[in-house]
């Protein structure tokens, strides 16, 4: 519990800041205080104003109103360099390093230790890098180029770099969104280490286990406004979610029971050496099948093989009784399969293209008249789908990359739903999107299933699996370890199977 009278002045204090972009108010009247040695979590849906706050602290945006104090002194961060100089380090979800330069040079670019005649002293550079990484408790070869480092390691390099710049305030913008469980745990340990050394941390995450595992204080934002700030131990995930969305959590998994129809997709004995082995499952109309398991269990690989993106070595895939040729996404699409990939930015969308172009991509032929696509048709079609899925966008002509994560995901969904598939395969449909949009995606899945669509969903989130699935196929190291009925499954039975100890659950 911080005691404002006894404690040293806060490392950073935002007082009633506001920022508008044109007519859009991104943040209004938000106050936030970061104390040395404490982790402050920022929770809120996408669009709640978190990113704008981060950009203020990074010196990218200047608040229209309100003040920023560092160690009790009012400060204006004119540009990113000023923020850096003030000891503020922003760690992004996906760091931008120099892939061709060594880790050491990534840390010390333009600040390399120099020796005689201003030449770079490589030995000192290496030693400094090793020391800096050791402070974080990681060992990486300083001479190794940054290309090929995992995102987790890249973040650590970024943090080490910030430490070497004497940063005291760390702003972490969804650092764990792309990390595996172990990597996220390692990052959490690093964050605790930073705090122990007196750093103040602002931590943004959509994952409540992390927020509650790490944070001392939690601030909730909604629609650009400050909702609450409380010590973490006085809150529960449920209260936080309620404050974030302004409604009850139960609405998150609006699963409506359906009566399954005929079997649409049947997979038997699917095997790809080194990835998965002897996977069989079937999905009926109106049914949602979840593929659960730990990261690396091979779930994405299975659905990619089913859809024909990857080849497989043995097994068959039949759609509505007819065998599907292997390795042909075109045949899969023609047979009525649709795959919404996990990585929407890389595989699901052409970010530079407009919303309307993106939604039309799967049906270029069908939308074309005499072989010609007209913008008008694309636009009309895009409007129809964006309205149906309630996509928030600044016009269908704006590039897809400018939309928020949740809205991007909806565009991907729209693109595939427009093909009127019989089987919809969703790989991590709600990864990295905010709670409100998550609920909408779930509601949509429910509706689609109710209308007779068969849905296969790969998900790493247990609540999502338990809340949405009619049946759950659990994979462990490329093998199916259990098939559980959705309603009867519990977090324990799924986890037991996912870790390879199904016990009597199967």
């Amino acid at each position: 519990m911080p005691d404002p009278t006894a404690a040293p002045p806060p490392a950073l204090r935002l007082h009633r800041v506001a920022k508008s972009f044109g007519a859009v108010t991104a943040v209004s009247d938000v106050s936030l205080t970061l104390h040395p040695g404490r982790v402050h979590a920022l929770a809120g849906e996408n669009g709640a104003g978190k990113s704008t706050l981060v950009r203020m602290l990074a010196g990218v945006h200047r608040p229209d109103r309100g003040t920023l104090e560092l160690d009790g002194h009012p400060t204006v961060l004119r540009d990113p360099a000023a923020a850096r100089a003030a000891g503020i380090a922003v760690i992004h979800q996906e760091p931008t390093l120099f892939p061709d330069l060594s880790i050491a040079e990534n840390l010390y670019l333009s600040r390399q230790p120099t020796g005689r005649l201003g030449r770079i002293d490589r030995r000192a550079l290496r030693a400094a890098t090793t020391a800096q990484l050791a402070r974080l408790g990681v060992t990486l070869d300083p001479d190794r180029p940054a290309r090929g480092l995992s995102i987790a390691d890249q973040q650590l390099v970024e943090i080490a770099r910030a430490l070497s710049l004497d940063a005291r305030i760390f702003v972490m913008d969804e650092p764990t969104a792309a990390l595996s469980g172990t990597e996220a745990a390692r990052l959490a340990a690093v964050v605790r280490g930073l705090c122990d050394r007196g750093a103040a941390v602002l931590f943004i995450s959509h994952r409540f286990e992390e927020i509650f595992g790490l944070a001392h204080d939690i601030t909730v934002l909604r629609d650009g406004r400050h909702v609450s700030t409380d010590p973490a131990d006085r809150l529960t995930p449920d209260t936080v979610v309620r404050r974030m969305v302004g409604r009850d959590v139960g609405a998150l998994y609006p699963k409506t029971p359906t009566t399954p129809g005929d079997t649409v997709l049947e997979v038997t004995g699917l095997t790809r050496h080194g990835a998965f082995h002897d996977i069989s499952f079937s999905v009926r109309r109106g049914e949602i099948l979840a593929l659960a398991g730990l990261v690396g269990a091979g779930r994405s690989e299975v659905v990619r093989a089913v859809f024909g993106v990857d080849r497989y070595d043995a097994g068959t895939v039949t759609v509505a009784g007819r065998p599907l040729p292997a390795g042909s996404p075109a045949a899969a699409m023609a047979a009525g399969l649709a795959l919404v990939p996990e990585d929407r930015r890389q595989q699901g969308l052409v970010l530079q293209l407009s919303v309307e172009r993106n939604t039309a991509l799967t049906r270029l032929r069908r939308l074309a008249r005499h072989g010609l696509l007209t913008t008008r048709r694309e636009r009309a079609d895009a409007l129809h789908w964006t309205e149906r899925l309630r996509v928030r966008h600044g016009g269908t002509h704006t590039p897809a990359g400018t939309l928020s994560g949740g809205n991007q995901q909806k565009i991907v969904l729209a693109k595939w739903l427009a093909t009127e598939p019989a089987v919809l395969i969703l790989d991590e449909p709600t990864r990295g999107i905010d709670i409100g949009t998550k609920a909408e995606v779930h509601r949509m899945m429910s509706e689609l299933a109710a209308r007779g669509l068969a849905i296969v969903m790969v998900s790493s989130e247990l609540p999502e699996v338990l809340g949405m699935a009619d049946r759950i196929l659990v994979l462990h190291e490329g093998r199916a370890t259990a098939t559980l009925p959705g309603p009867g499954a519990t977090a324990e039975t799924v986890m037991a199977a996912a870790t390879g100890h199904p016990g009597g659950a199967a």
């Binding site: 120099f98 061709d100 330069l101 120099t114 480092l149 990261v295 994405s300 990295g432």
Partner: protein, 328 residues
């Protein structure tokens, strides 16, 4: 950074193989005179390649170097022909200055105008060539018009090694030292490797890019002076088409065309390799058409190799960190 550079070693191996093969077929290929000629021919290309490397590292390109060379060569020769008393260092400085001005122009247009270097230097390629033509007005300066000591520079040797080759080596070593061991040199790699990260790290990208073009222009100016000294006959077409040879040398030498990696030593080896191919195919009496085809194939091989290495590295990273992009 002290690790072995496989690309440079690869080019070196190809070079040695080519020399050994040609020498086996025709031992005169390794005669002192023939080697001297080879080094002389490679020297000018190497100087240009050193400048081009610096530019390409920053994810830019300088297509104007052939025209800059022509302008500087003609300028230097004209100065010496009309004022035969000009001290040679001053004449050389004049040539380099012409190049530096052209490079400064390129750099300013690119960094202030925000226009891709490809377009700007394609423009200056024609503009500067036009300037050379209008300056020369059809004149050709012949060896007879130039002072003897200047022409001697083109053929002089030190301990049997052509002076021009030594000069080119000195240029390569100096640029290599800068790129390898100085902060500003490393920043060029950073700019080419990831411009966004460079901006965030506070690298003065505009200034560094202007410096790169200034250097490329100056070295093209120097190359012009060397060209005039070596050939003695200079008109407005000097160095025409040279820019593509230079880019070829740089790419074959392992400098990534999208910037961020490669070395000037590699580029110099590339220049040497291309020159060698030219003379060895001539020695072997191979149709000149094949000479061009071989150069083309080499460029494709070099780029293919880069792609392969990059994808393999990425694949290895994906294997060592399985499914990093997956939420846990």
């Amino acid at each position: 950074m002290t690790r072995a550079h496989p690309r440079e070693l690869g080019v070196l191996a190809a070079l040695l193989l080519l020399i050994a093969g040609t020498a086996a077929a025709n031992p005169r290929f390794l005669s002192a005179q023939s080697v001297r000629d080879l080094l002389l021919s490679a020297a000018i290309l190497t100087v240009l390649a050193a400048g081009q490397t610096v530019v390409v590292l920053t994810r830019n390109i300088d297509l104007s170097v052939g025209s800059v060379l022509g302008l500087a060569a003609f300028g230097t020769a004209d100065l010496l022909a009309t004022h035969p008393g000009t001290p040679l260092p001053l004449a050389a400085l004049a040539g380099i200055t012409i190049g530096a001005l052209c490079g400064a122009l390129n750099g300013a247009l690119i960094s202030y105008g925000g226009v891709p270097a490809l377009v700007i230097t394609l423009g200056t390629l024609y503009v500067l060539r036009g300037a050379a033509h209008s300056w020369a007005a059809g004149r050709q300066i012949n060896a007879a018009d130039l002072p003897r000591p200047f022409l001697d520079l083109g053929t002089a040797t030190v301990l049997g090694i052509p002076l021009l080759a030594l000069l080119a080596t000195a240029v390569v070593l100096a640029v290599a030292l800068w790129l390898h061991s100085y902060r500003s040199g490393r920043e060029l790699y950073a700019i080419g490797s990831e411009p966004a990260a460079a901006a965030r790290a506070g690298v003065p990208a505009g200034r560094r890019i202007r410096t790169a073009f200034l250097l490329s222009g100056s070295l093209a100016g120097l190359a012009g002076v060397l060209y005039a000294a070596r050939y003695g006959t200079v008109d407005a077409t000097a160095g025409q088409g040279m820019e593509l040879q230079v880019v070829a040398a740089v790419v074959v030498g392992g400098v990534a065309i999208f910037g961020g990696s490669g070395s000037v030593t590699g580029a110099a080896l590339g220049a040497l390799l291309l020159t060698c191919i030219g003379s060895s195919l001539a020695v072997l009496r191979v149709d000149p058409f094949w000479q061009q085809a071989v150069v083309g194939a080499l460029i494709l091989a070099a780029i293919g190799l880069d792609r392969l290495l990059t994808t393999r590295l990425a694949a290895r990273a994906a294997r060592t960190a399985p499914e990093v992009s997956r939420a846990g």
